[in-house]
Symmetry: C2
Subunit: 400 residues, 2 copies
């Protein structure tokens, strides 16, 4: 049975084809519109060469009074110099004005090829077409989510509904895209999260940052932090106009993080060419930053990722990866389980039946690594994809 | 015409099959013997889970009085706990005693699968067989080099001859192996370098470290620093018994680095499944460490490496990679050339004919990136391989 999907009140959505890639009929322009002025928060890539839309949005969030998020897929508008900044502002103006708002009440996101200028006629066309098709059905929501996708093969949407301690029932929904150039450092892809609760801008920013840190910042495909990563949160108060405070805010923050924890792994699970979603749990690390670096080094390791693709229980690559990342630990106090099988205990190999473990990897989409250190109390969960022949095929011929 | 090969005086070599992988006839046990006691220096992996042979050699170098380097290929003897340390010592004893020396006069190296114990009967057998076949011809030298190889497809040997300021003519020769799990942090593979000059242990260590830093530490295949990386230098004084000093030592150091500069890129050029050797030159970085991190981040980037595999001039991935590594720079002062074509200048794209650049990449084994910053005077050269479908095939099924 399908899970029920909860669309927050007061939002309308559209996804259209505006012609970013001439000849393509793919949906490539998305709009999310809040009729009430919404608080907005954003978390962005730490890549120095951030895209022009990131520069535009970062200057404006956190803040109040937003009505529109417009997204194109196909051209990232990154590494495009001053022309790119001009085009990002123009895109915001086109989208805002198409629904009776302004460029300053609009946030923009772009994803696709780096170093190409936005085709502004297509963008203007997209804003007009999307504004004419806005609706609040699940189908409209999914069309907007589809229009954000590039090499994604699956829709990535989730939602939550909850009655807060104050008695008000609120909703949160999120859509995101991402299948490659995924390496967490702040956010790592595009996502729009929206709620009909109301939040103060500083509260929105803080709880968004906290949620991202444990979710979207704990995923990777190949570890490349993109120029364009953006997670936006809109809060319009349509279900409850008073800004959340204290226990309501805490309950909301928990709900938001819980939703992101479902949404984020959808990205590596749809990683380009992926055949396994790998969940890495690190236990007993000296501190959180070390736990993350250990997990991330394993997650980005081509040798680990190809082994899992081949259902090869070559666990030495996992242990070797943890040893090369610079986190100090006692190698004689490390243990490892793969899919629940203990393969390495206190720095020495444990005899195991290779075929049994290989079959366990081959026969499940989900692979689990549990890596146990004895250095402290920090733990973390991190998600990544395996590395397949199809990933190389897809990326060897992306622009040509 | 073949280049002349200069084998240093006073060394003998053998490469034999000892049966590390039952049923295989591949040469898998190498011995290099110096009849005179040689000074030895070593540079080793920084991986915390270093192999038992690394532990064994590291305790003994730099030092004097060495006669043997014994190497097996097939089993890395890493992540093998106390049994592994015992076996490494045993391997040194077998090899040393087979030529009338001791375990303490012997250094050992192992490469292959992690987490498997050395088959000690095969190792004892290898020591006996190799001792019986030692010779000083080029063929013997090449057999030893062949016996170090795992997934390598090409022999990696170089040599130099030079008359030093003191009038003595000396030789240096080197052999190395490596095709994957290549990510520089100290050394990144196995290499034995040998000279018939004499060196004080501390001098040998210093000039070896300097040479490695600019050569073997500036290569990668997928960026994974192995558990077993080792570069050894033997100096036996067979051509000139007095330890080198001052201008002779400086001339020798230059010759050694020059030789390593030829030897090191042979590794990524023979990287698993490689179709392009990529040479990355970074100019104008704030300092050497930053220059290296910039080059290394580009070198290890799966998106950059797949693009070159596909002859796709998708330069945005190169610029984006430099922006994600944490080195601060002004993005509006960066320029990029690929194979001599200017594609990005001062932070903005330069129009170019895609087919021309794509053809240039496709039609040459060698790809060049020149990345220009305006932050300082530091520059570096780094070598890497592209990422191909064959790499994934080779690594998805390595142990199973």
């Amino acid at each position: 049975m399908e899970k029920e999907f909860y669309i927050p009140q007061g939002y309308r959505f559209a996804g259209v084809n505006c012609g970013i890639k001439p000849g393509s009929t793919k949906l490539d322009f998305a709009m999310v519109v809040s009729d009430k002025p919404a608080t907005a928060a954003g978390v962005y890539t730490q890549n120095l060469n951030c895209g022009a839309p990131v520069v535009y949005d970062r200057e404006r969030t956190p803040g109040r009074g937003f009505h529109v998020v417009a997204t194109d897929s196909g051209v990232a508008n990154a590494c495009t110099g001053k022309v790119g900044l001009f085009n990002a502002r123009k895109m915001a103006e086109y989208a805002g004005e198409a629904v009776g708002a302004t460029g300053d009440q609009t946030l923009v996101m772009s994803t696709g090829v780096i170093g190409i200028h936005l085709p502004m006629k297509a963008i203007a066309n997209g804003a007009e077409k999307a504004a004419a098709k806005l609706g609040s059905s699940l189908k409209d929501f999914e069309k907007a989510a589809t229009a954000m996708m590039t090499t994604d093969t699956k829709l990535k949407t989730v939602s939550r509904e909850k009655t807060l301690p104050n008695g008000k029932t609120i909703r949160i929904a999120g859509m995101c895209k991402g299948a490659a150039m995924i390496g967490p450092n702040m956010a790592t892809m595009l996502a729009t999260l929206m709620t009909d609760a109301m939040l103060e801008p500083e509260d929105a920013q803080k709880i968004l940052r906290d949620a991202v840190e444990d979710t979207f910042n704990c995923i990777s495909v190949e570890g490349h932090t993109s120029t364009s990563d953006t997670v936006l949160l809109l809060a319009n108060g349509a279900a409850a106009p008073d800004p959340l405070a204290r226990e309501d805010l805490a309950a909301f923050a928990e709900l938001l993080k819980d939703m992101c924890r479902e949404l984020a792994p959808m990205i590596p699970n749809d990683g380009e060419g992926v055949s396994h979603l790998i969940t890495i749990d690190v236990f007993g690390a000296p501190d959180r930053a070390s736990a993350k670096l250990l997990a991330q080094t394993v997650a980005n390791d081509a040798l680990v990722k190809t082994a899992i693709c081949g259902a090869d229980p070559n666990w030495g690559r996992i242990i070797s990866a943890t040893g090369r990342c610079g986190v100090p630990y006692d190698p004689s106090k490390v243990s490892l389980k793969v899919n629940g099988y203990l393969l390495y205990e206190n720095g020495a190999p444990v005899p195991f039946d290779k075929k049994t473990v290989s079959d366990a990897i081959r026969n499940s989409r989900d692979t689990s690594f549990e890596i146990f250190f004895q250095e402290g109390d920090a733990s973390i969960r991190f998600w990544t994809s395996d590395l397949t022949v199809e990933y190389v095929h897809l990326n060897a011929d992306y622009t040509t």
